[in-house]
């Protein structure tokens, strides 16, 4: 748990370096920071090679791209791909589904790890705490294929629950292939799989809060709720905001594999999201140009979300992911 101390305390330090660095000349700063720069170099190179260089490929959003003809052999088509995209109702279905799922996950999923972390923190017995932690971390390590199969086996039309209902003459219910509740199902699965795992960072944030504050608060007569409200929550706030912004950045990535596996059961009307739209349009149907245009739009919207969330964070006096 190195995060424990590191996370909240790193920030003020970097604050100071920033301020002093503006005064020193460039070369001097370079020399001073050389070890740090060397350390960050491998990650920066990986990022450059595998994130920024591939971005250049986005030019195919303006091409009728055919892979075996390549960049040079494919025709430039201007904004045709975007026009085709915007006039395609299935694209808008995908956008709308993505937005709905993003919203649901933000509202229903995001708070769960925070609550779990707070609850876990109240468990006094270390053994019990460790045990519960291990159990709730476990589903994170299962692949979506297994999780979807598990849900199918238990809640599916011929799953344990429905079989029991049918054999006892009761009417079965349908959650696995019901388009109306599909998005809730997705969110439920995501919570079941990853909420436990998500507690780690919040537990670290809680652990980093000075125990002296609790002691003083208790001396001053604060109850459990008071301590939570006035100490725990404010102590976690920077991390919560940071996580929220990071989450927003890829919030349009709502779970490709999870959805792909279940898309056929409820149909694209309920389950097509931007990522699956790109997959079916581009990889399967060979419309690389249009699919890239869709992917590009998603990237732009995500960037906007991060910037907006960060601005909001600044307004509330938080640091966000970068400083003003």
């Amino acid at each position: 748990m190195t995060l424990k101390q590191a996370l909240p305390r790193v920030a003020p330090q970097s604050d100071e370096t920033r301020q002093t660095s503006q005064k020193a000349p460039f070369l001097a700063r370079l020399w001073r920071d050389a070890p740090l720069l060397v350390m960050v170099a491998p990650a920066a190179i990986v990022l450059l090679l595998f994130t920024y260089v591939p971005l250049l490929g986005s030019v195919i959003a303006w091409m009728d791209y055919v892979p075996f003809l390549g960049f040079t052999g494919s025709d430039w088509v201007g904004w045709d791909n975007f026009t085709a995209l915007f006039s395609d109702p299935s694209f808008w279905t995908a956008v709308w589904n993505t937005v709905q799922i993003t919203f649901l996950q933000l509202v229903l999923f995001f708070p769960v790890p925070i609550l779990l972390a707070v609850l876990l923190n109240t468990v006094a017995l270390p053994v019990a705490k460790k045990f519960v932690q291990s159990v709730i971390y476990l589903p994170h390590f299962l692949s979506w294929v297994i999780i979807v199969a598990l849900f199918q086996q238990v809640l599916g039309g011929a799953g344990i629950v429905n079989r029991f209902l049918i054999t006892h003459g009761l009417s079965p219910f349908d959650v696995m292939s019901n388009p109306d509740t599909f998005k809730l199902l997705l969110t439920t699965q995501a919570i079941w799989k990853d909420a436990g795992w998500g507690t780690i960072i919040f537990l670290a944030a809680i652990a980093a809060i000075d125990p002296g504050l609790y002691e003083s608060a208790t001396m001053d007569g604060a109850g459990a709720w008071g301590r939570f409200w006035h100490i725990t929550l404010p102590g976690m706030r920077p991390i919560i905001v940071l996580m929220l912004i990071l989450r927003l950045g890829d919030s349009l990535t709502v779970g490709f594999e999870q959805i792909l596996l279940q898309r056929d059961a409820v149909g694209p009307g309920a389950a097509e999201v931007l990522d699956t739209f790109v997959y079916y349009n581009g990889v399967v149907d060979g419309n690389w140009g249009t699919a890239t245009a869709a992917g590009l739009l998603k990237g732009v919207v995500s960037l906007f979300l991060v910037l907006a969330a960060n601005k909001l964070a600044h307004r509330f006096g938080e640091e966000g992911v970068y400083k003003r």
Binding site: F68, D264, V284, N287
Partner: protein
């Protein structure tokens, strides 16, 4: 799709199915249906035909001359309409059809789509070693599991990572295949056109319907693996049906519905079906095979046929009446689980490709029959034919004549007809390891079945036969009789082997749209009347253009 892979199929199922698949070599049809027959067959029909348009106008050449292969006397004779010959067992002392050394000891890197687990490595597979020796090559297959093909193949193309030899299953509906062939693969016309093919006698034994799939812009780019004309069948689990006191051979829609209702017993977990039977319903209602060519030469889509929406409406009613397995939405794309449910008697009927008969027959305890198709008011249904080939095998662009000749010699070996020495080796491998002789009949061992996962038999070949001495007794006769009854119902797709630029670039997504619309109606998410709008969308999205292009291509072809 990964779900199919991950959902864990039992080893015994896989073993059984693989063997028959390979023995009957082809299996295309076995896996095509239920999730998207229409999409699949439309593709195999037209994606190959015509031309890429862009290529410099090379002279149009005639198709390879057909020289019927010498065949052993069948137990039951097939027919020119497509009924397959039946043999009691595989002759073990067949004549040699390929002479001289084939390869030059080099590597033979070939992309093959496979259905089972990956084959055991070469040093553990006497079958593979034998083929290497026979071909005088180091065969190195790049095996792509069928569940991954739609993703893997475009990735290989995009990354320019295709191996020297590539076999493409046509029903996978690869986007822009004609353009790909012209851009990346060798024009084989001078080696195969007309009488030139006679240098490779076994390739000369492949019929026109197969060759048409690799015939682009009047040039020959690929060697086909022929496919029977029959597409799909309904298998009936007669013991379950009889126990329910129902008639396993309905004669019209009403009797069919009665049967479905009678066998369904939710309390016992028994259902009539476990997948989409949309195509079966359409054929029962007389919906044409993808397209109709009218007297004035115009093409009209089957979606616009007056029986299409009523057929789907009946389908939706059937689903609503509860005679489909509750897991149908997922079973549609999970063949392994569907098969298992049928075997265990939880599904009374199974709608699948006609080669699935082998998979079913492999389990000798399964009592089953094949339902003869019928029209909705009695009489005949129509039965859509396929595109004539399961796969097309090509060689990357090269001017090395010796290499091209070697490639064709290898395919000549693989395409050896039933009864020949080479065909026996392809099907059975090494005696004592891959097969044993019992009462004069070669019987594959479990190891032999595993080693055949190499998949080389999928890539080239002429007409197939019915020969399943290891299957349920009488299964070949059963299938033969079924085929004879279906011959009068066969209906071709008039657009098969015609080129349409729109189909080439947009066909796959347009088909998917329609398939999704049908599934939505089937599962009761939308009313049948929503299909009218879906068809309209399909038409404006490219369907109308396709009709026009097909009409032009047909006029050109005469």
């Amino acid at each position: 799709m990964p779900f199919i892979n991950g959902s864990g199929s039992s080893a015994s199922n896989e073993g059984l199915s693989r063997r028959t698949l390979l023995k009957r070599a082809g299996l295309a049809a076995a896996l095509v249906p239920v999730s998207g027959v229409l999409a699949a067959c439309g593709g195999s029909g037209s994606s190959g035909g015509g031309g890429g348009g862009g290529a410099a106008a090379a002279k149009s050449v005639p198709l390879p001359t057909y020289v019927p292969p010498v065949k052993p006397k069948p137990l039951l004779e097939g027919s020119a309409q497509g009924v397959m010959d039946v043999y009691a067992s595989f002759p073990m002392d067949g004549p040699r059809t390929v002479n001289g050394t084939i390869g030059d000891g080099s590597e033979f890197n070939v992309l093959i789509m496979t259905y089972g687990q990956p084959s055991p490595p070469v040093d553990q597979s006497p079958y593979w070693q034998l083929l290497n020796k026979e071909l005088n090559l180091k065969v190195k297959p790049l095996q792509v599991p069928y569940a991954d093909f739609q993703t893997k193949f475009p990735a290989l193309v995009a990354g320019d990572d295709l191996p020297e030899f590539v076999s493409v299953p046509l029903y996978e509906n690869v986007a822009r295949l004609p353009q790909l062939a012209e851009a990346q693969f060798t024009d084989l016309s001078e080696y195969l056109s007309g009488d030139a093919v006679k240098k490779y006698p076994n390739l000369a034994g492949i019929q026109k319907a197969g060759w048409l799939n690799g015939y682009l812009n009047g040039r020959i780019y690929g060697v086909p693996k022929s496919d029977p004309v029959f597409s799909t069948q309904i298998y009936t689990k007669t013991d379950v049906i009889k126990a329910a006191g129902a008639n396993p051979q309905p004669a019209n829609l009403q009797e069919f519905k009665d049967l479905a209702k009678a066998v369904t017993n939710a309390q016992a977990g028994v259902y009539a079906f476990g997948g989409n039977i949309a195509d079966f319903m359409m054929m029962m209602f007389g919906v044409p095979n993808k397209w109709t060519r009218k007297a004035d030469g115009t093409f009209v889509s089957a979606w616009e046929h007056e029986a299409f929406v009523p057929a789907m409406s009946e389908l939706a009613d059937l689903y609503k009446s509860g005679c489909f397995h509750p897991d149908t939405p997922t079973l549609m794309t999970n063949k392994v689980q569907r098969d298992a449910l049928f075997r265990s008697g939880k599904l009374a009927m199974l709608y699948d490709g006609n080669r699935s008969v082998g998979i079913v027959a492999d389990d000798k305890d399964v009592v089953f029959d094949i339902m003869t198709p019928f029209g909705k008011d009695g009489g005949n249904a129509v039965h859509w034919t396929g595109g004539g080939a399961y796969a097309m095998t090509m060689i990357k662009k090269t001017t090395d004549k010796k290499r091209i000749d070697m490639f064709l010699r290898v395919l000549d070996y693989i395409a050896a007809p039933f009864g020949s020495r080479e065909s026996f080796i392809m099907s059975y491998g090494v005696e004592g390891v891959d097969y044993e002789v019992k009462d004069g009949v070669a019987v594959l061992t479990t190891r032999g079945q595993r080693e055949q996962d190499l998949g080389l038999a999928y890539i080239a070949g002429g007409p197939q036969v019915l020969c399943d001495p290891q299957g349920a007794p009488g299964v070949d006769q059963l299938n033969h009789d079924w085929q004879q009854k279906v011959v009068p119902m066969l209906l071709d797709n008039p657009a098969a082997h015609l080129y349409s630029e729109t189909f080439n670039s947009k066909g796959a997504s347009l088909q998917q749209q329609m398939q999704d619309a049908i599934t939505a109606v089937f599962l009761g998410r939308e009313s049948a009347s929503s299909l009218t709008a879906a068809v309209q969308k399909w038409k404006t999205g490219g369907g109308d253009k396709m009709a026009k292009e097909y009409a032009e291509a047909a006029a050109l072809a005469g």
